[in-house]
């Protein structure tokens, strides 16, 4: 195994059992994150981004969820086989997480200080005074003014952007090796988004934490990520470095995504090209490729078989029948 490799997810499958049927929310997810690297995970709503993140942390509510198969190797350990005790030592310590909505992700009845100190006291075996010192320091690092006073405030006394800063302080307080950020800026307004992303980037540079950044904003990916994973209907369809994704996308879905982005250099007369159709029902996935119905490159085989996850070029993985293993496009 690659020395630098921090996390490798192979063929992860997570289902949700509902009255209306089994939802295959993650249906064969593959990804890799190296030490200190930022991976952007993009895809539309319901493509399985958050479920993948929650499965890595083993935080899928069971029932109704169930991780059916796959492998999540983190730091040489398969998290899917880890005991609850081992997971508790990893969560918040080696892998930390921040969520989409800072307004609801903090406990309203505990002070932010308490919520940050909790993780420090648990994982670093620190006493209250020491933990409080560390928490103040973290709040300062994420740019909360008057951190010594604010530490005793409750979440409702902070604005949305400030709360997300608190979440970041909390997540980074134990120097995790991996930070999973699930759409950390989606609920914030645009100027605050930029501030939060800058902050995450700065902290990452200082601490060397790897980040798995879930987003549906390709602009954020272009700006922050070294690697990108594209997901569609529970599948990973393309994985490569950020430059290749924008210069040499290979999967027809990625072409569609990039085609639907507004561009500054093309005059406004040109209309955006949406991808036709709707994603498939996750309870009733097609026999072949999940994207086949909407794909303009569709071949007969696409509707009969699932494409395999192939490394077409060094470090560029695609799951599509347009390509053969040697890296040639085959028509």
């Amino acid at each position: 195994m690659d020395q630098e490799l921090l996390l490798r997810v192979k063929e992860l499958r997570t289902n949700f059992h509902t009255d209306a049927g089994v939802i295959k929310a993650a249906d064969g997810v593959n990804l890799e994150i190296r030490i200190g690297e930022t991976l952007g995970v993009v895809g539309e709503s319901g493509s399985g981004k958050s479920v993948t993140a929650m499965s890595i942390m083993r935080l899928i509510p069971m029932p109704p969820g169930k991780i059916v198969s796959g492998e999540v190797m983190f730091d040489g350990k398969d998290l899917l086989k880890a005991s609850e005790d081992e997971l508790m030592r990893i969560r918040g310590n080696d892998i930390a997480m921040i969520f989409q909505d800072p307004m609801t992700s903090l406990n309203p009845v505990l002070t932010v200080g308490e919520q940050i100190m909790e993780a420090i006291m648990l994982h670093q075996k620190a006493g209250r005074t020491e933990a409080k010192k560390k928490a103040v320091e973290m709040l300062k690092r994420v740019g909360i003014p008057e951190a010594e006073v604010r530490i005793d405030n409750y979440p409702h006394q902070f604005s949305g952007g400030m709360r997300q800063r608190v979440m970041i302080a909390m997540a980074l307080s134990c120097n995790p090796k991996l930070l999973i950020a699930d759409e950390p800026t989606t609920a914030l307004d645009v100027t605050i988004q930029a501030q939060i992303l800058d902050l995450m980037n700065d902290l990452k540079r200082e601490s060397g934490t790897a980040i798995m950044l879930i987003t549906h904003d390709l602009g954020i990916v272009a700006e922050l990520c070294q690697k990108v994973l594209v997901m569609y209907a529970g599948n990973t369809v393309e994985y490569t470095d950020a430059v290749s994704l924008f210069t040499k996308p290979m999967h027809p879905y990625t072409w569609g995504l990039l085609g639907s982005l507004p561009k500054l250099d093309v005059w406004a007369k040109q209309r955006l090209e949406p991808i036709q159709g709707q994603p498939p029902d996750l309870r009733n996935l097609p026999q072949g490729c999940n994207f086949a119905q909407r794909c303009n490159q569709k071949k007969p085989i696409c509707e009969q078989q699932k494409p395999t996850w192939l490394e077409i070029e060094a470090g560029h993985f695609v799951s599509c029948f347009l390509y053969k293993e040697e890296g040639k496009r085959h028509d």
């Binding site: 508790m88 997480m97 909505d101 609801t104 992700s105 919520q115 648990l122 994982h123 409750y154 909390m170």
Partner: protein, 310 residues
Amino acid sequence: MIRFVIRRIFQLIPVILGISMLTFWMMSFVPGDPVALMLGQHISPQTMESVRQELGLDLPFLTRYLNYLWNVLHGDFGRSYIQHQEVSQMLLDKIPVTFCLAVVASAIAITFGLLIGVLSAVRQYSFWDTFTTFFTLIGLSLPTFWLGMVLQLVFGVIFRILPISGSGGEGFHLQYYILPGFALGFASMAMYAGLTRSSMLEVLGEDYIRTARAKGLSKQVVVFKHGMKNALIPVSTHAGMDFASLMGGTILIETIFSLPGIGYMLFNAISRRDYPVVQGVTLFLALVFVVINLLVDISYAFLNPRIRYD
């Protein structure tokens, strides 16, 4: 905060006035003559008339009410027609018994109710959860007096482990309060269990619970530290009002268990048309309700930091 409390105390005045007026008015409509009940049937009309005058019962309704109010404001709740004792003294004698009964009932209801509720929320849809849901339904449907009598029969008569009547004389004797407390608190316990379960289930689905788990906290810490305090906010509102209801709901239980509390006293007073006692007890219970209501509102500020009274 202090301004809020003062404002609330002033708001209590019309409520108390309204209640006193309503009871006064209703009692005067209840059929039955207190003087006849007091003196028996073979008394000359003249004597009855003079007693009526002595008690002020011949005066018009409004005059009687205003007189009563004036006296109450001076701390005089009148005298019992039957026992000829000061109502205020009678209340002071009986309140501790009722208060102890309500405390025991509340303690039983809250302790077991919360425990059952939390456990069934944490193990949703398990056998335990189904069982407690069924149990909750039974608890809410059982008549208090029936449960009281069954408890007397089982624990007092068959097994002979607990006393079934009286309060054990001076002072507080816990064993006398266990059966009536359980009978009185059983429905409340079922209600607390149901309320805690639904409140806890709602809280456990919140984003901050996910955050707490993502921090690596154990399930116990997540449930009791992060879940419990949030889940208790709606439960605590109920706890206050429930305590007040228990104080007022002791009539049946005190009568069945012959506990000399205000419920038993009220029961006797109503059946003998002892107006001053009925008035006194009702006014006292009304006061308990409004004061507890106020305390519940104040306690919110401590439980829920988002609430500030300015």
